[in-house]
Every structure is written in structure tokens, then in C-alpha cells.
């Protein structure tokens, strides 16, 4: 069969195409895997960030759900041992991922990347931009019990939500400059909060000394991160979910089951 030059040529052409496809696939996969591990490695290099993630297992229960920007989701799961509301970006916000500036990596992300739904990512962004009362509705939708925000100033900007704020605002459909103004870009950016900033949940959580949050109780803080327990108001409760774990139906973790709520519930049940 391989006796004729034509059939030999055909065989080589097929083999060449096959090996080209294989080699492109393998190279891209190796590159993607290498880059995919980078953020987790950056966390390992930051003792404060590592401590914050590990602290999650101390200050939360094993079934608690942590609300954060998607960047931290996998570290919450891997190092904190807790479920995160989101751990991956959605396809429509891929331009906000730093590495997407590289066309090769952007292509790899399309091929091998994992994605959250667009609705979820936009909900998270809106929850961070809206005033506290409105944010709680979204946080309840995802059964979140705690929120983690990052205020660390590191050279890579990995743990600084204020640096990510312009993108989060844009994804939520808001203009970041209405809330935060960058006053200098060199050598380090400086951020100035506007009068509207206090309406924004994320900024209230980041600058809690200036704008004390109403529905979030800080349970941990270090140089990099702040962990808050969400204190859902009683009026958000759905009566059909009360049986079983009434305090969770009210959106409270066991830590916030105040005496009043407890008394009311046990009286009803």
C-alpha cells in the first residue's frame, strides 16, 4: 500500500498534521497548567495571605460558604477548607483577567479554563457595589455566611481589592471613579474615596473604620485580609425553611443567633 510515492506522501501528511495538533495541544496544556498554579504559589509566598485563608477553618464552620471576588475562591477551598461562592471567572469578563493580555494564554483559557456562570459573577460584582441592604439579598441567594475582602498592599497587587475595584465596578455596571479616585500612579497609586463611597459594600468592608458596616461583623483581620460574618436581618427570613436549622433559615450562622431570635424561633417551633 505504501509502495507508491502518492500513498507515502499521504501517510506523511496525515502524520504531520496529527503530530502538529498533538504538539500544539501539549504545549498549550503545559503552559496553562504552569500559569494556573501561579496564584496559589503567590499565596504560599505571602505568610499573611496564607494565614488569612487558613484562619477561615478556625473562624467558620465546615458548612459555611464564603463570599469573595472570584480570584480567591480556589484558595478559600484549598487552604481554608471552605466552600466559595465563586472560584473562576465567567467567559464574558475574561478581559479583566491580567493574563488575558497574552493572546496565547487567552486561547489556552478558552481551551482548558473553567468558568462560572456570567450571572453569578455579575451578581458578586453587584453585591460588592450595592449598598449593604441590597447586597444582603444577593449574598443570601448564594447562601453565603461570611465575606472576605483583601486590603493588602503587595508588589503583585494580588491581595488588594481596591486595585481590582475598577474592574469589579465595571463588571457590575458602575463607574468606579464615582466612588474611588486614583490620585497618583507613580510610584504607587493613591486612592481617594468620594462622598458616594460609603454606599458601596466593598468599600465599607475595606475601610470599616471610616464606614462601619451595619450587617457585617468582623471576625478576623490581618495585614492582608478581613473576614466578616454576615448578619442577615430577621425580616429576610423565609418561614418555609425554618424547620431543621432555624438560625440558618434566618441567614444567621450559629455565632449570630442572638438571644431574641433564638427565643422567637423556639416559641414558634
Amino acid at each position: 500500500m505504501l509502495g507508491t510515492p502518492r500513498s507515502r506522501g499521504l501517510l506523511l501528511a496525515v502524520l504531520l498534521v496529527a503530530i502538529l495538533v498533538l504538539s500544539v495541544f501539549v504545549s498549550l496544556k503545559l503552559d496553562f497548567d504552569n500559569r494556573d498554579r501561579i496564584f496559589q504559589s503567590v499565596i504560599k509566598d505571602s505568610p499573611d495571605a496564607m494565614q488569612a485563608f487558613q484562619e477561615l477553618s478556625e473562624v467558620t464552620r465546615s458548612d459555611d460558604v464564603i463570599f469573595s471576588w472570584w480570584d480567591y475562591g480556589r484558595a478559600i477551598q484549598d487552604y481554608g477548607g471552605r466552600s466559595a461562592v465563586v472560584a473562576y471567572p465567567s467567559r464574558d469578563i475574561i478581559q479583566s483577567v491580567g493574563a488575558s493580555q497574552n493572546p496565547v494564554y487567552a486561547f489556552e483559557m478558552m481551551l482548558f479554563g473553567r468558568y462560572e456562570s456570567s450571572e453569578k459573577i455579575h451578581d458578586i460584582a453587584r453585591a460588592f457595589l450595592l449598598p449593604e441592604d441590597e447586597s444582603l439579598t444577593i449574598m443570601r441567594k448564594y447562601e453565603a455566611t461570611h465575606v472576605v475582602v483583601f486590603h493588602g498592599e503587595d508588589t503583585r497587587g494580588a491581595f488588594n481589592d481596591i486595585e481590582k475595584f475598577p474592574w469589579i465596578a465595571r463588571i457590575a455596571g458602575y463607574n468606579a471613579s464615582d466612588y474611588v479616585r486614583t490620585t497618583a500612579t507613580s510610584p504607587e497609586p493613591r486612592y481617594e474615596l468620594t462622598a458616594k463611597a460609603e454606599q458601596v459594600t466593598m468599600l465599607r468592608l475595606l475601610f470599616d473604620e471610616r464606614f462601619p458596616p451595619q450587617h457585617f461583623a468582623k471576625v478576623y483581620e490581618n495585614k492582608v485580609a478581613k473576614i466578616y460574618r454576615i448578619e442577615y436581618p430577621v425580616s429576610h427570613a423565609s418561614s418555609s425553611q425554618w424547620v431543621g436549622e432555624p438560625w440558618l433559615a434566618l441567614g444567621c450562622s450559629e455565632y449570630v443567633m442572638c438571644g431574641y431570635v433564638q427565643r422567637v424561633l423556639w416559641a414558634v417551633l
Binding site: 506523511l12 501528511a13 504538539s23 504552569n34 504560599k44 479583566s96 493580555q101
Partner: protein, 289 residues
């Protein structure tokens, strides 16, 4: 269509000077140059099998779960993984070549000096043009990745092993098998993919210089120079990466400009090499092309 065919046949293989139908002749010439014509079936098959071994071993290595350490450890582990896989592939290729009594990787020592000087000159010219363009236009500038700084020697070694597999054996086989143009193009692509595999940042812009180096290897009839130059490229661009200072969200434009600048730089470097002190060597003169 008929008219074209007649014109091509008339001038085949080369049109006489000053003849009509120049365009048709050029189309034919270009088409002929880029069509794959198998000149040596066994050599081509050897090249393909060698690349298949290399990328299969690399594929298997992707299943190795590496421990998550700090950033420096992550970079080191990925380099070590690729280096180990490529070394293993090299050993397998040598066994294959030995068993089949086929051509082993060779450096052609007589041409080593010329190959080395040509490759380093090409690399120097490419780097100079490319960097000057980046600096003058502000499109990109080099930044040291501190977590990778200590890994330059390891990257150099990985580059050497990559070069040994990709150039000393595979390129030689493919060029013998399918001719210089297709052989150089294919080998450059495969060789460049090894940069991607170790996550050299913005690896796309290295493709033109890899093409130039493979071309230099074929031209000087020795792959020693391209191997050394490739390992230097690997060591340098693993430690330094080029960043576009433009605002996030539009940086792909900067990236493509970097790549275009690289193409132009490689072209100029190739031109200088062709016309320069090492241009007298015939284009793979005595190989089966």
C-alpha cells in the same frame, strides 16, 4: 485556468528573463516552494517519529502532579518537569536511531565555528533591533521576574536539551526529508512550542527568531549555533519578560506590535546574515534538498 497552466508549463522550472506571464510564474514558484514534496520518506518519518516521542513524553509529564510551593518552587518544578521529559525523549530518540541504524544527532564539527558565530550574530542583531524598537516607541520594556532570577542556569540547560532534540536530530531529518523550506518552517514551529511549554512569557514574539536560528543551522550545515543560541534565549526570556505599559484591557495590541517588531527584526537579522560575513555558504548546499 488553462492559460495559467500553459504559462507555468512553459516556464517550468524557471521563467526566462524578461518573459511575459511573470505573475503566473511567480505563483507557480511560490506554490512549488511551499508544497510538501517528500524527497526522502525515511528521513521525514524519522523526524515525525522523533517529534511524536518528544511531545508524547511531554504530554505524559503533564499528568505529574507537582506540589504547590512558593512561586520560585513552582517555576523551578515546571522547568524541571519539562527538562526531565525532554531528556527522556532524547534518550528514547537515540535508542530509536541506534536500533534503526539511522543518522544520529550530529554537530558537523567542521562548521561549528561558522554556525556559532552566525547564530550569535543573528541573535544579537534581532535583540538589538527588537529592544531598540520597544524602548523608542514605548510599546514594551523588559522586566526582571525576581522569582525566576535564580533559575537562569536551569533554563539554559533545558534550552540545550530542547535544542539537541529539536535541531540536532529532528530538523536535520525533516530538512533532508521534505526540503529546506518546509523543514525549516516545521522545525521552527516545533522548536518554538518548547518555549510555550515552559511558559516563557509572551512566547509568540520568539517565533521569528527561532525561525531565523533554524534557518542559520540549515545554512551553515551545523546545528551547534542554533542550540547554543536557543538555550541563551530560553535562559534570558525565562528570567526577563517584556511587558507593555499600556492600560489593562488593550494590551493585546501591544503584544501584537511586539510580535510584528520581532518579525521585522528577524528579517533584518536574516538579511544581514545573508549579505554579511557568513553569507557565502550555500543554502544547505550538499544536503538532499
Amino acid at each position: 485556468m488553462n492559460r495559467k497552466l500553459i504559462a507555468v508549463l512553459e516556464y517550468c522550472p524557471h521563467p526566462p528573463p524578461g518573459a511575459d506571464h511573470k505573475l503566473d510564474a511567480r505563483v507557480y514558484s511560490a506554490g512549488n516552494r511551499f508544497s510538501i514534496q517528500v524527497r526522502d520518506f525515511q528521513s521525514t518519518l524519522d523526524g515525525i517519529i522523533a517529534y511524536a516521542i518528544l511531545f508524547s513524553v511531554l504530554f505524559l509529564s503533564s499528568f505529574a502532579s507537582l506540589p504547590t510551593g512558593g512561586l520560585a518552587e513552582a517555576y523551578r518544578d515546571s522547568l524541571l518537569r519539562t527538562g526531565a521529559a525532554t531528556s527522556l525523549a532524547l534518550a528514547a530518540i537515540l535508542i530509536y536511531a541506534n536500533f534503526g541504524a539511522r543518522n544520529l544527532p550530529e554537530f558537523r564539527l567542521a562548521s561549528v565555528r561558522k554556525s556559532l558565530l552566525s547564530s550569535l550574530l543573528g541573535l544579537l542583531v534581532w535583540t538589538a533591533f527588537w529592544l531598540v524598537f520597544g524602548e523608542l516607541t514605548g510599546t514594551y520594556h523588559l522586566v526582571l521576574e525576581s522569582a525566576r532570577a535564580s533559575l537562569a542556569p536551569l533554563a539554559l540547560c533545558v534550552g540545550l536539551v530542547d535544542g539537541l532534540v529539536a535541531y540536532a536530530y529532528c530538523t536535520e531529518r525533516l530538512v533532508t526529508g521534505v526540503g529546506s523550506t518546509v523543514g525549516v518552517l516545521l522545525s521552527s514551529l516545533f522548536g518554538w512550542l518548547l518555549f510555550v511549554a515552559v511558559s516563557v512569557d509572551f512566547a509568540f514574539y520568539l517565533l521569528p527568531v527561532v525561525l531565523l536560528l533554524v534557518y542559520t543551522g540549515v545554512r551553515t550545515k551545523s546545528y551547534f549555533g542554533p542550540i547554543v543560541a536557543t538555550s541563551l534565549l530560553m535562559a534570558f526570556f525565562y528570567v526577563y519578560f517584556a511587558v507593555s505599559p499600556w492600560v489593562p484591557g488593550t494590551r493585546q495590541t501591544g503584544y501584537w506590535l511586539m510580535t510584528i517588531a520581532s518579525v521585522v527584526s528577524a528579517f533584518l537579522a536574516g538579511l544581514i546574515l545573508t549579505k554579511g560575513p557568513f553569507g557565502a555558504v550555500s543554502y544547505a548546499g550538499d544536503s538532499a534538498i
